[in-house]
Amino acid sequence: MTDPLRAAIRGLFCASALCAVLTAPVLAAEVPAGTKLADEQTFSTSVGAAIGAFDPQLAEDTDQSAVINNLFEGLYSEDDKGNLVPALSDGYTLSDDRTVYTFKIKAANWSNGDPVTAQDFVFAWRRAVDPALASNYAYFLGLAGILNADDIVAGQKKPEELGVRAIDDKTLEVTLSSPRPYFPMTLTQTTLFPVPQNVVEAFGKDWLKPENIVGNGAYVLKSNSPGEVVVLVRNPRYRDDAKTVINEVRFVTITDEAQEVARYLSGEVDHVGVPTGQLPKFKAEYPNEVTVAPRLCTYYFDVNVGAKASNKALTDQRVREALYLAIDRDVLINNVLQGGQIPAYFLTPAATAGFTTPDVPALNMTQAERNERAKALLAEAGYGPDNPLKFEYIYNTGEGHKKIAVVVAQMYKETLGVEMTIRDMEWATLLDTRHQQNFEVSRSAWCGDYNEASTFLSLVDTKSTQNSSGYSNAEIDKLLADSATKDDPTADYTRIEQILATDLPIIPVYHYTSNALMKTNVKGWPYDNVEGKWYAKDLYKIAE
C-alpha cells in the first residue's frame, strides 16, 4: 500500500486529537548543499492548446490545474511521490463518528497582503456548488462527501447549507454526510482551494485578469496571451517564498508535436512531451533527457452490453473474453505505441495508491495460450470460419488511435477470424455516441480524479454517468457502496477487478505512461507522482 491512502488512514487513527498528519513533508525546492544554481531561473513547459480560466472552482483539465497549482494553494498538496503533504493545513481533528474534520489554518497571506482566512475556504466551497457559477466540477464536493453538496447542486438546498463553516479566522470545520477515508486526498484538487472573497466579489469574472487576480500560491500571474504563452512570476508574499528558487514559470502553447520538439531543441522550452511512437528514437538520441513515468490512466475498449446493445453477440461473456485474450498487448506496445506503456489486463493501474493488483488468469498465460483459449471460447459461443463474428469499433480521430484499431483488427482477424470494422469520428461526436449507447465497441480511456482505485472502479457502477457500456452487477455496486466508508477497502477493490476480469464489459488494453523530454539542468521534477501534479516552487535549475 503506498502512501496517500495510508496517510489518510493514519489520519483516522489520530481522531479527536490535534495531530500532524504526515511524515516530514517536502515543501519547497530541496537544493542539495554545494549545488551551483543557474543564473537564470525560468522554467517553461509546453501545453497543447490555449488554457481555460485560472479559476480554482471552474478548472476542469490538467493544463488549468497545473497553472492553478502554482497560483493558489489549498489545505494539502502532494510531494514528488504523490504523498499528501500539508499546505495551508496545520493539522486537523476528526470527530468520533469520523464525519467532522476541524482544520487549523496556517498563517498565510494573499498576494495583495490580506490574510488567508477560513472564511475564504467557506466562500470558495459554496461557490463551487452554487448553481449560479455552474461549474463542471460542482459534483466533486459530493464525491468528497461534503454534507448537502449534491442537494445544493440539484437546487434543493442553498449554498449556505453546505457542510463547511468558519469557526474563527483560522479554524475551518467540514462536515461529511458519511465517513470517507479518502476525504483528505480530495483536498489537493483545485476545486477545494480558497479564493479571495473580496476580490472575486469586486471584479466578477474579470477577477482572473492579470491586473486583478489575487492568489495565495508561490507565483502570481504576470501575463496571459491565450494560445501563445502564460507567464507567472514569483509571489514575494508567499508564506514559503524564501525557499522558492524558480523565478518565472512559462506555459507555452504548442499544438504541433514536431514543433514541440523543435522549440525544445532550440531552447525555447525546458519540458515537452515525446511525439507518439518516437520514444525509441529519442531514447537513443537524448538518453539523459527522456523520461518515462507511469500515469494514472487506462486505455480500454468499452463493449456495449446493456439493454441498448445492438449486437447481441457481444452480450455473450465468452465472446468478450475471447476478444480480451486475443489482443497481443506486447506487440501493440513494443511495435506500435513504442512509449513504454504497461500492458493492462485489469482496469486500475498498478501504480495507484493502496491498490493490490488482482491475480487474473490472463496474467499467467503466454500469448500463445491466450490465443488458444480465445479460439476455444469463440468456437464454444458458436462463431467460426462459417459464421464469423462481426462488429464495429469506433474511435476518435487520431493517428495513434487509428494504428491501434488497425492492428487489433488484424490480430482479431488472424487469430480468431473475427471481422472488426473500424470507424473514426470526431471527439465530440464519439462522446455523444457513447453517452447515447449507440455503439458496439468503442475506444475509451480514463484518468484518475484522485490517487485511489475507486476513481477507476466507480466507472462500472450501475448508477455512474460514466458507465457507457450499460453494465450492471449487483455485487460490484454493493462492494463500491461499502468500500466508500471502510478504513481499508483494498480487498474489495481487488475483488471488483476479479469480477470485471471475468465479465469484461470493458477490455483493458494498456496503462499510460508519460514520456517527456526534460532539459538536464532542471531538477526536482516529481517523476514519481502518478497524477502528474507538479509545483514550480519545488524545482530549480543548476548551472551547467
Binding site: 494560445g227 504563452v229 522549440r263 465530440a428
Partner: protein, 307 residues
C-alpha cells in the same frame, strides 16, 4: 458611387443574417455540446450549466436572443469554453496578431509578386523568365504546412537566428517566419498572374504605338502597361487580403501566435458555439468588405468601369 456603396452595404445585412442562421443551424446539428467531456457530468450539474448559458431555452429563442444581443448591445456572448472571457475579448486579443502578420504578408506578396511578374514578362523567354517561372511554380505547389517546418528547421534549429514560435508582443523576430511561410505561395500566385497579364498588355496595339513613337521602355511599362496589367491581379488581391488577415489556421496553430485562426479551430472542435459564431461573423464581414473594396479599386484603375 455613394449610391453604389450604400446599396452594397444594404445587401450585406441580409447576407450576414443568413450567415448567422446557417452557421447556428449547422452548429446545433453537429453532435455533442460545449460541455460534453470525457467525464460525463451528472445531470444536475449539466442542467445548471445549460441554464447558466441559456442553452435550456428553445432553439429559436436562443437564435433570437443571440441576434438581438449583437444588434442591440454588440455583445457576442460569453465563451463557453474560456469561462472568464467573452467572445469580443477573444477576438480583440487574437485579431490584432493575425492582422499584423496578415498585412505584412499582403504587402510582401503583392510587391514581390508584381515585381517578379513584371520582370519575367519584360524579359520573356530569357533565363530570368525561366528561373522565376520555375521558382514560382515550385513555391505555388508547396503548402504552408511544408514550408513552415522547413523554415523552422533552417532558421531556428540550424542557424539559430529566429525563434521557432510565439508572438512576443509582435517582436520582429517572431513575425518574420509566419510572414515568410504565408507569403511563399502567394508571391508565386501574384507573380504568375502578373506575368501573363503583363505579356498580354505588352502585345497590344497601343503599346506597339507607344514603342513606335520612341518612348523609352521603362516609361512604357510604368506609365502605360502597368495599370491595365494590374487589373487581374487586383481581382486576386481582394480574396487574398481577406485570407491573410483572417489568418491562416495553420500559421496560428503551428507558430502558436495566439492569433484568431487557432481560436476558430478550437472553438469548432470544442463546440464553443458563441466563439465559433463570433469569428464566423467577423470573417463574413471582412469578406463582404474586401469584395466592396475590390470593386472600388477596379473603378479607380479602369475608368471604363462605372459603378
Amino acid at each position: 458611387m455613394i449610391r453604389f456603396i450604400l446599396r452594397r452595404l444594404a445587401i450585406a445585412i441580409p447576407t450576414l443574417l443568413a450567415l448567422i442562421v446557417v452557421s447556428f443551424i449547422l452548429m446545433k446539428v453537429a453532435p455533442g455540446n460545449p460541455f460534453t467531456g470525457e467525464k460525463t457530468l451528472p445531470k444536475e450539474v449539466m442542467a445548471n450549466i445549460m441554464a447558466r448559458y441559456g442553452l435550456d431555452k428553445p432553439e429559436w429563442q436562443q437564435l433570437l436572443d443571440y441576434i438581438s444581443n449583437i444588434v442591440l448591445h454588440f455583445d457576442f456572448g460569453p465563451s463557453f469554453k474560456y469561462k472568464d472571457r467573452s467572445v469580443t475579448e477573444i477576438i480583440a486579443q487574437g485579431f490584432p496578431v493575425t492582422f499584423t502578420y496578415g498585412m505584412w504578408t499582403f504587402v510582401v506578396s503583392t510587391v514581390l509578386g508584381v515585381f517578379v511578374g513584371v520582370l519575367a514578362a519584360v524579359r520573356q523567354n530569357s533565363w530570368v523568365d525561366y528561373l522565376s517561372l520555375g521558382i514560382t511554380i515550385g513555391a505555388q505547389v508547396v503548402p504552408v504546412y511544408v514550408v513552415a517546418p522547413l523554415l523552422v528547421l533552417i532558421f531556428t534549429l540550424w542557424l539559430g537566428w529566429l525563434p521557432g514560435g510565439g508572438w512576443n508582443g509582435g517582436h520582429w523576430s517572431n513575425v518574420i517566419l509566419p510572414v515568410v511561410a504565408l507569403s511563399f505561395s502567394l508571391v508565386a500566385s501574384v507573380a504568375r498572374i502578373m506575368r501573363s497579364s503583363m505579356l498580354e498588355v505588352l502585345g497590344s496595339n497601343y503599346i506597339r504605338t507607344a514603342r513606335a513613337k520612341g518612348i523609352p521602355g521603362y516609361k512604357i511599362i510604368l506609365r502605360h502597361a502597368l495599370r491595365p496589367a494590374l487589373l487581374p491581379v487586383v481581382t486576386y488581391l481582394a480574396p487574398m487580403l481577406v485570407y491573410v488577415i483572417t489568418g491562416s489556421v495553420i500559421i496560428d496553430m503551428y507558430f502558436s501566435t495566439g492569433g484568431i485562426g487557432s481560436a476558430f479551430v478550437n472553438s469548432a472542435l470544442n463546440r464553443d458555439y458563441s466563439t465559433a459564431m463570433g469569428i464566423t461573423i467577423l470573417y463574413g464581414t471582412l469578406t463582404i468588405a474586401g469584395n466592396l473594396l475590390v470593386d472600388l479599386i477596379y473603378a479607380w484603375i479602369d475608368p471604363k468601369i462605372r459603378l
